[in-house]
Homo-oligomer: 235 residues x 2
């Protein structure tokens, strides 16, 4: 194998996997996402070629991975969270497969469970939620029947999204019939030392987020599990 | 902190986090799930008290964690996947919080992304799926309107479930209007050396699983992303 698509986890550098860190420590080329912890990028060996992903668009990243892979380099593509969960890792894997470059996916800790968890919110909990629906902020721009179904799905909703869309999301959920006192949380920079959390009923979520001046990246959690935060006393 | 709820990851011992392994290596008490890799349990220090979780019911496990925590022991509760994603970690955390025992959740790699991924299936993929719904096999025993909504949710469905329910799940999805040629995969012992994968249209899923003689634990993935498996060539 020459190219490894490695999940770096949600932010806290201690949440990379043992195998991911091993591979990173012997990589010759590291292509890393902007949101990957600096401490992890610093684990690459001296002399490794370090490439910041955000200076390249996706087709360029794919081409870089294929080129270095074909050259027989040990390449680590260090991605936030898990490569195959809202990470576009499938596109990179497909480019490698089509070019005949051997590759391996090293899964990582997705934000889905860990970011709500770091805010004291289990996404599932017996008697509270046994279902989780994960979508992006784009969902609320979509066709309204689909968004209504999402809005009314039982259990917990988790949205990967920009903070600018929080108001539109809350309004959409309310318009689709969610009650105004449905609890929600917005977690900024989850699992890092700069983590901040805002919880509010849906009807007040956007103004609470604005008042707090939260910064990206953010994750939004909607549902009764948000109430567990206080009982667990984690913060 | 005295009690750590640590996610051991989906099966492959290399997928525990760096922080999780560090804590395990200095634990005085380790309470481990049946599905946690033996290689990980073996990382506990000599002389550590090792407790197999499956010989205790959940209230007993909670009590054990509280007792050893109150005694000031370094306790690692080693759980499959992520503690807060279908892991009952919230119940253990709540028991500790209520007893005033300091604890920390160390998130892990959930099966949600990693088990389909190890079978060559990204749960999200641009132009194919931008939404993931995760439920348990119990969902198909539930009230039919709720199950119909789940069955018709856009994107990818992921079910944590026993193999005995696969037929009932497929029948339920078909009865709720999913087309017979909807692709599905069942992944047995995902990410381990014993991993086996069966893919089939929904209408043939149960018979394909039975023919293959798959063993627990299993995860079921339903949706168009299953077709990516062949294109990615991962197995």
């Amino acid at each position: 194998v020459t190219v490894y698509l490695v999940g770096a986890g949600p932010g806290d550098p201690g949440l990379i996997t043992v195998r991911g860190l091993d591979l990173l420590r012997r990589a010759e080329v590291v292509v890393y996402d902007r949101l990957v912890a600096e401490e992890l990028v610093a684990e690459a060996p001296e002399g490794a070629l370090l490439v910041a992903r955000d200076r390249h668009d996706q087709p360029e990243v794919n081409r870089l991975l294929v080129e270095h892979g074909l050259a027989g380099k040990e390449v680590v593509r260090l991605k936030g969270g898990d490569p195959f969960v809202f990470g576009r890792g499938g596109e990179e894997a497909l480019a490698l497969a089509e070019a005949g470059v051997p590759f391996e996916v090293v899964h990582g800790v997705s934000a889905i469970g860990s970011v709500p968890g770091a805010a004291g919110i289990p996404v599932t909990h017996r008697g509270v939620s046994q279902q989780v629906t994960i979508a992006t902020g784009q969902a609320c721009d979509g066709a309204s029947p689909e968004f209504a179904a999402l809005a009314n799905a039982p259990g917990t909703l988790v949205f990967f999204m920009g903070l600018a869309r929080v108001g539109r999301l809350a309004d959409g959920l309310l318009a689709a019939g969610r009650s105004a006192d449905t609890l929600a949380a917005v977690i900024s920079k989850g699992t890092t030392h700069e983590q901040r959390v805002v919880t509010a009923p849906l009807s007040e979520l956007a103004s609470a987020v604005e008042r707090a001046g939260l910064e990206a990246p953010a994750l939004v959690v909607v549902g009764d599990v948000v109430a567990l935060r206080e009982r667990l006393g984690l913060d």
